[in-house]
Each structure stands twice: as C-alpha cells, then as structure tokens.
C-alpha cells in the first residue's frame, strides 16, 4: 500500500517537474508593462488586443499589460512596483516624465539597447516633433506610442445656425473671438450654447502650452531646468484665455472640467472644444451632428504641444528582457499597428510610414479630420517637462486656475509660479 503510494507521489512529482520545465522553456521571458489611458473609449481593449496578437506571434514571450489609470497613476504604480522589487520591464508613461525617470535612475536610453544599424534607423523613423519629449542630453529615452496634439473640434450645425461658413473654422485668435460672439446662443440671460470651451482641470498646463506657443513663446528650456512662466507673451496668453470668459463672454467663467467636456460638446452645449486628438474616434461615434476638426487658431503663429505617452524601458532588466521588450515595442509601433491604433483611437500614427499604409490612407481619405493632428505636428512643440515635474506642473496649473477663477491677475499668478519654480529648479542648473 505504502509502496504504491510512494510510486504514485514519485510519478506525480516527476510529471509536475516536467510540466514546470516545459512551462519554463515555453515562456522564456515574462514582461510586465504598465500603461495609462487619458481619453475616452475602450482603449484598454485595443491595447490588450494588440498585446495578445504579439504573444501569438511570439510564444516565447509572455506579456502582462496592466492598465494603471491616468498618466499620474501609471508613473506612480510603475515606479512603486520597481522600488518594491516587483517586476516591470517596460511601461507606457507620460512623455514628460522623462526627467523625473532619469533622476530616479529608473530607465535606460534606447541608444544603449539598439544594436544593428537597422534598429538605429528605426529610432529615427518617427515624426521628429514626437521625439522632442523623448530626447535629452543627446540620447533617446522614450519611443512615441499614444501621442496626440490638441485639436479644435467644432459643431458645423452650430456654425450654420450662426450664419458662419461651416468649412471655415476660426484660424486666428481674433476670428475666434469675433465668430465666438456669433456662436453664443442665449435666451434672456441664460446661455444655451457657449462658443468655446477649453478644459482647465486635469491638464491645464497642456492647453496653456498651446496658447503660449501660439504667442510664440515656449514654457521651458530643453534641459528641463528653466521655466518661462512670467515672460510677457506667456502672461498675455493667459490673459487672452481669461478674457474669453471674462471680457468676451464666449466661454463659461471659472475652470472647465476636462472629463465632462466631451459630453458638453456632444450635447451641443458648446460650439467649439479644444481637446486631445485621442478623443476623435469616440466623438466620431457619438456625435449626432456634423462636426469638423481643425488646427488650433494662431496668434503670432500656430502652435500646440504634443502630448501623450511614450514607451520606456527600465534599468533593472536582464539583457534578454530588454531584448524582448524591444521586440514588443517594435511590434506595437510598427506602421501597420500604429495605423490601426490611430484609426481606433484618434491618436497620431507615430511615423510617416503609418500614414502610407493602405488602411490609414483610406481612413484619412474618407475621414479627413483624422489627419489634422498629424498635419499640425509641423507647428508642434514639446510639452511642459522639467525636473521636479509634478511640482512644477502643479505650480503652473494652480496659477492658471487662480487666474481663470478670477482670484489673481495673470501677471501675479504666473509671477509667483515662476519664482517658486526657480527655487525648485535651482539645483538642477
């Protein structure tokens, strides 16, 4: 009896061992990747789908893709996982997290990983404007993935109703104001439809980056250790933003919620909204009226910051993991996949080659708004990104909000933000 029992256990142990060994050989590398979502639609499904496709094509690599919330959450969670010794080999994180990640010594530059000339060429295959936030000190740290610019969505029916040409959206600040005054619809004192809404919660500094660029002013230097919050064009950009509500009465006063804005637009409560191009596909699906997409209007020039998430590879990785991570990143940024991603979300296809794929070519031909964000890249600048990014960003966000809510004039709020950011950045200069 006992002998039989022993034999059985032995057999069991052996087969278990075999299974284990088999599993080991089948999955040579296991990757954990965190990623954020900051726009609407079932994006997690799209990412999961592409990752599943990758695993099918590469059975020796197992990828755990973890949706971690917004950009902030993704950074927090990925870094927290690293610090507490949990696996994470790569992540999609905010393109502007770069300095913070370098300071934490968390990531490796891609230059240290690419080997063949072909791979080196791949590094240069993306739109240069999208590399702005991914390169510093002569090295490439981030590969563009879910990248966007700010575009202007407008309700063509509202334009017609106001007696405006629905195919001529405002191209300058002055036009924005003059058309805006026609677009506002009121019954008595009550506004039924606003002309424009620019979101000022969530990512106010990002929207502000567009306004300052249009005023021909950047917000920081490329080393990420200097800000220009109190420069004259910066101040007048904020004044313009505030006047849209206060003086011209074409935008609601106070701050405008990033998350609910899309609903306001879809409900026809505003004729124009500025928002990430990442919302395009959802708006297309849900809008019950004819809508258009245009580049942001110019003052001294056109301008928008790029936005969104890049791929980073973490430093604490084994060589074979780095290789597998590279494989995954290359797979997900392949022109074909970038095109699919762009069609399903509205994000920019990250390389010119993506727009040459038949799928995206046809999509753009049928639905021209899909190309606006890409065409706008020509005027795009990197997004606000500095050392101590979280703090500096909050300083600017607070300044913007205090002016928009009428608490402080632009000059004062931006002035004090600049003083404080100088104090924070002093030790990085």
């Amino acid at each position: 009896m006992i002998g039989r029992f022993r034999r059985v256990t032995k057999g069991l142990a052996l087969s278990l061992f075999m299974m284990f060994a088999y599993a080991q050989s089948a999955v040579a590398v296991e990757l954990t990747m965190y990623y954020p979502v900051a726009v609407g639609g079932p994006l997690t499904k799209v990412v999961d789908g592409m990752v599943a496709e990758f695993m099918k094509a590469n059975p020796d690599i197992k990828v755990k893709a973890i949706y971690a919330g917004n950009y902030n959450d993704a950074r927090i969670k990925a870094l927290a996982a690293l610090k507490s010794g949990q696996p994470a080999q790569l992540s999609v994180m905010f393109s502007i997290d770069i300095y913070e990640l370098i300071e934490q010594d968390a990531i490796v530059p891609f230059d240290d990983i690419v080997e063949t000339p072909e791979e080196k060429a791949w590094l240069n295959s993306f739109y240069p404007a999208l590399m702005g936030n991914g390169r510093t000190g002569g090295k490439t740290w981030g590969i563009p993935f879910q990248r966007s610019t700010i575009v202007m969505y407008y309700n063509k029916d509202a334009f017609k109703e106001a007696g405006l040409d629905p195919n001529k959206p405002p191209a300058t600040w002055d036009e924005l104001v003059s058309m805006g005054k026609k677009l506002v619809k009121k019954t008595g004192d009550k506004v039924d439809r606003w002309a424009i809404m620019i979101p000022s919660t969530g990512y106010p500094y990002w929207m502000f980056g567009a306004l300052t660029m249009e005023n021909d002013q950047v917000l920081m230097n490329s080393d990420g250790n200097k800000t220009f919050f109190n420069a004259t064009p910066t101040v007048s950009a904020l004044e313009f933003w505030q006047e849209l509500g206060d003086k011209h009465g074409i935008m609601p006063k106070g701050t405008i919620e990033w998350g609910t804005l899309r609903k306001n637009f879809l409900e026809g409560r505003t004729a124009i909204m500025w928002h990430s191009t990442g919302n395009l596909t959802v708006v297309k699906k849900k809008a019950k009226f004819d809508f258009g997409v245009a580049m942001l209007p110019a003052n001294k020039r056109r301008g928008t910051p790029t936005g969104g998430g890049n791929f980073y590879i973490f430093k604490k990785t084994k060589p074979e993991e780095r290789k597998a991570a590279m494989k995954l990143i290359r797979f997900l940024t392949e022109p074909k996949r970038a095109a699919e991603w762009s069609i399903k979300t509205g994000y920019i296809g990250t390389s010119p080659a993506a727009y040459k794929t038949p799928e995206l070519e046809k999509y753009v031909a049928d639905f021209p708004p899909a190309a606006v964000a890409r065409d706008q890249l020509e005027f795009a600048t990197p997004e606000l990104s500095t050392y101590q990014a979280g703090r500096v960003r909050k300083l600017l966000d607070d300044a913007i909000q205090s002016t928009l809510t009428g608490k402080k004039p632009a000059k004062d709020s931006l002035g004090s933000a600049q003083t404080q950011s100088e104090r924070l950045l002093k030790r990085y200069q």
């Binding site: 902030n72 927090i76 870094l79 927290a80 913070e100 300071e103 934490q104 010594d105 008595g188 004192d189 009550k190 506004v191 000022s200 919660t201 969530g202 609601p252 006063k253 106070g254 701050t255 405008i256 919620e257 998350g259 609910t260 609903k263 306001n264 409900e267 409560r269 101590q388 979280g390 703090r391 909050k394 966000d397 607070d398 300044a399 909000q401 205090s402 928009l404 809510t405 608490k407």
Partner: protein, 294 residues
C-alpha cells in the same frame, strides 16, 4: 497558590495580547514615531541620498502657500460638515424614532449612503455638479437660474465637497442618536405631555440634554472624519481649482505619491498627527466624564 495564579495570569494576559500588539505596534505606533523621525530628513534620490536636515522641512512647510491653503480648507471643511451633519442626523433620528408613515423606508434611505463607497458615488455627484448638463443646473434652469460652474468656481467648490460629506455622514450619525433615543424612558414624554409642554420645549429641555453624551461621541467621530474623508477629491476635483478644495490628507498623498517627496509628506503628517493628538486628549477628558455618569 495566589501568587502562582497571578503569575499565570500575567503570562496568559501578555500571551493573548501579543499577536494583536505586534501588528498594532508595527502599523500604528512605529510608523507614528518613524514619521516624526523622517520629517527631519531630506527625501533621497539616487544621486542625492537622504540626509539629516533638521527643521528644513518644517521651514519650507511654513513657507508653502499650498500648505496654509489646505489647512484653512480643512478647517472650513470641518466647520461646514460637523454641525450640519450632526443637526441633520439628530433630526433624522427624531423623525425615524417617531410615528412616521413609511418609517422603515425612510430610515433605509437615510442610512444607505453609509454603505455606499464614497469613490463610487463621487462620479454620480459629479453629474449633479456638472455645469449646463448636470442635475443641479437642469433643476436650476426650470426656475430660470443661470447655469453655475459649481466645481470650477473657487467660491463654491469646497461647499460642494462639504455637501457630499454631509450626505455621506448624517445617516451614520443618525444611528447613534436612534440608539440613544430608544433607551430614553417613554414615561418622560408622557409626563411632559400631561404638563402641556410643547414638543419643542420637551426636546430642548429634556431630550437634547439627555443625548449629550451621544452628541459628544458623534462630535469626536465627525472631527476625525473631517481629516480622513478625502476619497471624493480623487474623482471630483483633485484638490482644484487652485487648491480651493484640497484637504490635508489629500495633500499628503500628493506630496508622497505624486511628487515623490516622502519626507515632506512625513512633515505634513506630523501636523495631522498633532491635531489628532489634541482631539485624543479632548476625548480622554470627555470619556472620563462619561464613565462617571455611569
């Protein structure tokens, strides 16, 4: 015999206590002390290891405008939430304790917010507050009010947050009052009726004073909660606009997990601990009194 008995008692007592004590010390007493210690050090990064900096964190805290703003908000939050939620709770308890038609249903409605997670209902409240399309504005429009940007206006945003806290807490506090009301002898009310006292006089002269211990207990709970209840901020405002709705615990979270400045967060936590300590001492005095009553 007796001494052997007491020794055994000693050993048993401590043995029984040990498992709980280990966890309590690890996650309450030790971290409280460690927080204090950490507040004297700088936050380390890879290139700049943490070092002793004395009171520097406290100095930058005192210079930090956001800190003062958050502290002020927290005081307003407490002042706004505590009296109103206690008053509503008392009213609810009196109603539900009386002869109200559909009493069970009403009691259930009052109590429901207690078992709903704040984080889940925050999104629904977001709908109430959203300008133009939100419920508050839609109802307002029926009466001809212009739409208001409830969460986007620094003057109203904290009020909105307070309203949610009141909604969440009143039903919970009601329970304590209800329990206390049910222990009051019914003869009291009959006697008062015979003497012709109005219900209000009776409430003011008899019920309310008798409920005093409960009120104190609820009060302490309410004060603690006014430092602890910050979940709604994560969905609704993230502390904005311009920190107008940020609260101390939320700022601590931000400092530690968004700015990665754990030691500054520790410094802020020390302030929070100090305030809780003051309340604790207050409670000790009050609890002492309650025991005397018994």
């Amino acid at each position: 015999m007796s001494s052997a008995h007491t020794t055994r008692n000693q050993v048993y007592g401590w043995l029984l206590l040990t498992p709980a004590a280990i966890l309590l010390i690890t996650f309450t007493h030790y971290p409280a002390i460690a927080t204090l210690a950490q507040s004297f050090f700088s936050t380390g990064t890879v290139s700049r290891p943490s070092k002793f900096i004395g009171l520097d964190n406290y100095r930058s805290m005192l210079e930090d405008e956001v800190f003062w703003k958050v502290l002020e908000n927290n005081i307003w939050y407490a002042v706004g939430t505590i009296p109103i939620s206690i008053a509503i709770a008392l009213l609810m308890a009196v109603w539900v304790n009386g002869k109200l038609p559909l009493r069970g249903l009403v009691r259930m409605s009052y109590f429901t917010p207690t078992i709903l997670p704040m984080i889940a209902v925050a999104n629904i409240w977001l709908f109430f507050y959203t300008p133009e399309i939100g419920l508050l504005d839609q109802v307002g429009a029926l009466f001809g009010f212009a739409s208001h940007n409830w969460l986007g206006d620094t003057d109203t945003v904290l009020g909105c947050i307070i309203a949610i806290a009141i909604w969440k807490e009143a039903g919970f506090f009601m329970i304590f009052y209800l329990a206390a009301l049910q222990t009051l002898p019914p003869e009291l009310e009959e006697a008062a009726k015979l003497e012709g006292a109005s219900r209000w006089t009776f409430f003011r002269r008899v019920t309310f004073p008798l409920l005093m211990p409960t009120t104190l207990f609820v009060l302490i709970n309410a004060v603690i909660n006014s430092f602890k209840l910050v979940d709604q901020l994560f969905i609704l405002t993230k502390g904005g606009p311009d920190n107008a709705s940020s609260l101390l615990l939320y700022y601590i979270y931000e400092a530690a997990f968004s700015f990665f400045d754990q030691n500054y967060a520790s410094t802020l936590t020390v302030v929070l601990l100090l305030m809780l300590a003051v309340i604790a001492i207050g409670q000790f005095v009050i609890l002492d009194k309650r025991i005397h009553y018994r």
